[in-house]
Subunit: 258 residues, 4 copies
């Protein structure tokens, strides 16, 4: 079979579109943001991507039907003032080998450049290793002009973060994107790295919504964030409470979050 | 060499055949079922598949001759009322890498679609982590119509199982099969996951035999199931019996089954 | 680069040649036997094989020059009564992945079949897990006729050994060889599996020498075997001797051999 | 995408050039030497190499812009008496798989041979496992003539070092280079192997500068070496000083260097 199999569902002729990537990763921030954006735009299916660089796995839906793991390209046609067409890449997994990462990113970029994409935004989480009250959005970009442009939207460019660079799809879409003549930026929401983080996804998406001039209703994402907060809070409380002696569970074993 | 080398032993012209897959996996349920079915139909050799995605290994038969690990496609020509031709895929191993899983499944599906296959059934075990008295057959299918059709044969579709989806050949043959325009279902026999489980294989095969309208004599498989029962029983008894103090083996070390 | 790069050093036109394979493995038996045979025939270089399926490594010779790891095909032209031409395959490593194992074996077999090879003998060790006084030579073969032929040379075919089959080059050359229409046998010298075993290599080579009607002077190999015996003996004695208390080395730490 | 993507920045027509390789490895000696040489010559960019055999990673520069991990070929045009043109290979990583090592080396050698390269020098560290006061430069070469030529420059060829041969790019460029008809040598600076070692890089580079008749100002590299010395010295002193009892850190935990 083809290493990367792209099945296009409908022909599209986007005008000066941007590509937005959000795949699973740290805190699942990129995927949460991209999936939420797809739902709220809403964006319609454009192409489904299967690959031997993804796990040999199907998901079983609640009704018993199966779905082969994939990346999905969806399409939003500009309809508001100052908006642009958007190609949105989401999916179940990042490529499961370095080679797979390169091949998957390259095939999507190749397709995107043919559709006129010259600009790419990638969404990701940045693990700080401690709880974050108000996540900042850190950035990395393809050019100094892009750095300045993102700074104007509140994105933080730090000399020290991310120290080791970006590993995975969000970095690769920028790095390979440049070879395809694309400019762009990676928007990284600060997150603890300990659990999925809708609040960090919201921070990232608020920046992107401003950049792309898209009104997004964040109610559902904020609700999801509060839900995670409640879970975290319960764990935190359980941690503070002295555990009755007879139960025999050492206190330290419950303390890995918080 | 070719990544997947298919050696066809004889030309066949099947009529509206179904593909049945049963490779090694959880409790060896799929392989036990497929091997038993091949023997009882009986199905005749159609093609042997070698691949660098299988281990570099030969088996040594009792007479000292060797056999390179392979997948085997066998063929059963419909001979009873309401029956259909069957292509049956068995083998020694699943592909030993994600890439290999995809390539092996794709090549067989490609061959099968050329032979007129539009329907595929995959046989597998579903590990429950505890002993199962009467294994149910859980299902996953390519469409709602298939879900309903399987339900009529007693297959259980559960909202929660299998939660993480299906990993490996049995899922992939359905997922990739859909791309080839095939409908089908995975039949998963409940099993503890601790040992090979002919009883679970029997449960799966009873459903399949009903679906395909094939009379199967289950005597030998039931005998094999009783044999495993006897072994499990002995281990269980050994566990119950107090071990004489001087032997020095702590009781817990014998108790991992039962 | 080519996955497997074969550099032929001289044209040859062998008559009805046999292929003999001996690569590193259990007890290094196969490699010891093949290297000794090459030296004693002597066989002359025919082709050097480099591959990305071998480690990215060069050896440094005593004079400071380097040599890229390789497989080597050498050639012996029949010169005695009843002899046949021999292609001898040796090398530094087996392929370092399953895929590499298949590709390397396939390319050599492909070359060999073009040179008229219809028969292949593979040399290997069989780990018994305990010291072996007089190593038997166990066998596996491509056909019942080959089994009988080898039995006549004293090769032992056992119902139980090797139970799990043969993994690696020695099995693969037989298994893939059959696809190329070759007959042959694997000769496995019993060995402890704890150290390199020239005595086992000698046992294997004595059978092969009889099969191929080649007089081999075993003096040097026997000397090498005695050398290993002396080392093993010293370790064994060190183990028997009570260690004086002050030295502080616990006795058990020296006892892993013997 | 291409497995190895070479983007040439400018056409060059070198005369009888030599190739010099210095990639990350033991003590980072090869990379330190090659990067320092590039800066001091100075060499100008010739080609950038991206590959799926490098990690899927971008680095983030201090100004927030990104750079995809790469190998870089830079070019120095001879300008002094007796000098030759130089192609200098540096980079962020060695290939991350054996296959990748072969492919990356092969593609660069292929390009280099087309540019007239017939001679290759590779720079590396050789881990001795203890602190080295005055690092010697050990050698390995493609021919006896090269061994003698390097000896005249003070390179040490030892019967025992390196015992297991050279693993990685520095060995491979010589081993594969020979297949391309190139002569050359590997220059290995002795190093402890415990930290990056500019002093070892200096030793290696002094030999290379003599071989290539290039005046190199070593001031900055010596300063870097003294800096590392100071850090090592501090660790050493901390180790010597008795740690006050209350602090509770066992002395041994600080002693792994020195």
């Amino acid at each position: 079979m083809e290493d990367v199999l792209i099945r296009v569902h409908r022909p599209i002729q986007p005008k000066n579109p941007v590509l937005v990537e959000g795949l699973p990763g740290v805190g699942n921030v990129g995927k949460l943001a991209a999936d939420y954006l797809r739902e709220k735009l809403p964006a319609v299916p454009y192409a489904t991507i299967h690959s031997k660089f993804l796990p040999p796995q199907v998901y079983v839906n609640e009704d018993g039907t199966i779905r082969l793991v994939s990346h999905e390209l969806t399409y939003y046609r500009a309809r508001g003032p100052g908006q642009r067409d958007i190609l949105l890449l989401g999916g179940d997994y990042q490529g499961i080998s370095p080679e797979g990462q390169y091949e998957l990113a390259d095939r999507v970029l190749n397709l995107a450049v043919g559709l006129g994409v010259r600009e790419v935004y990638t969404l990701a989480g940045f693990a700080q290793g401690h709880l974050i009250d108000t996540p900042r959005v850190l950035g990395a970009a393809t050019s100094s002009a892009q750095v300045e442009a993102m700074r104007a939207f509140g994105v933080v460019f730090s000399k020290n973060d991310p120290g080791g660079g970006l590993i995975g799809a969000s970095g690769l879409f920028l790095g390979l994107g440049r070879i395809y003549g694309m400019e762009g930026a990676c928007l990284m929401g600060e997150t603890s790295g300990y659990f999925v983080d809708p609040r960090s996804a919201e921070a990232v998406l608020r920046v992107l919504a401003n950049v792309l001039k898209i009104p997004v209703d964040f109610t559902d994402l904020e609700e999801k964030a509060r839900e995670i907060d409640r879970i975290a809070q319960k764990i935190h409380e359980a941690e503070q409470k002295p555990i009755p002696a007879p139960s025999g569970v050492p206190r330290e074993d419950l303390g890995y979050i918080g």
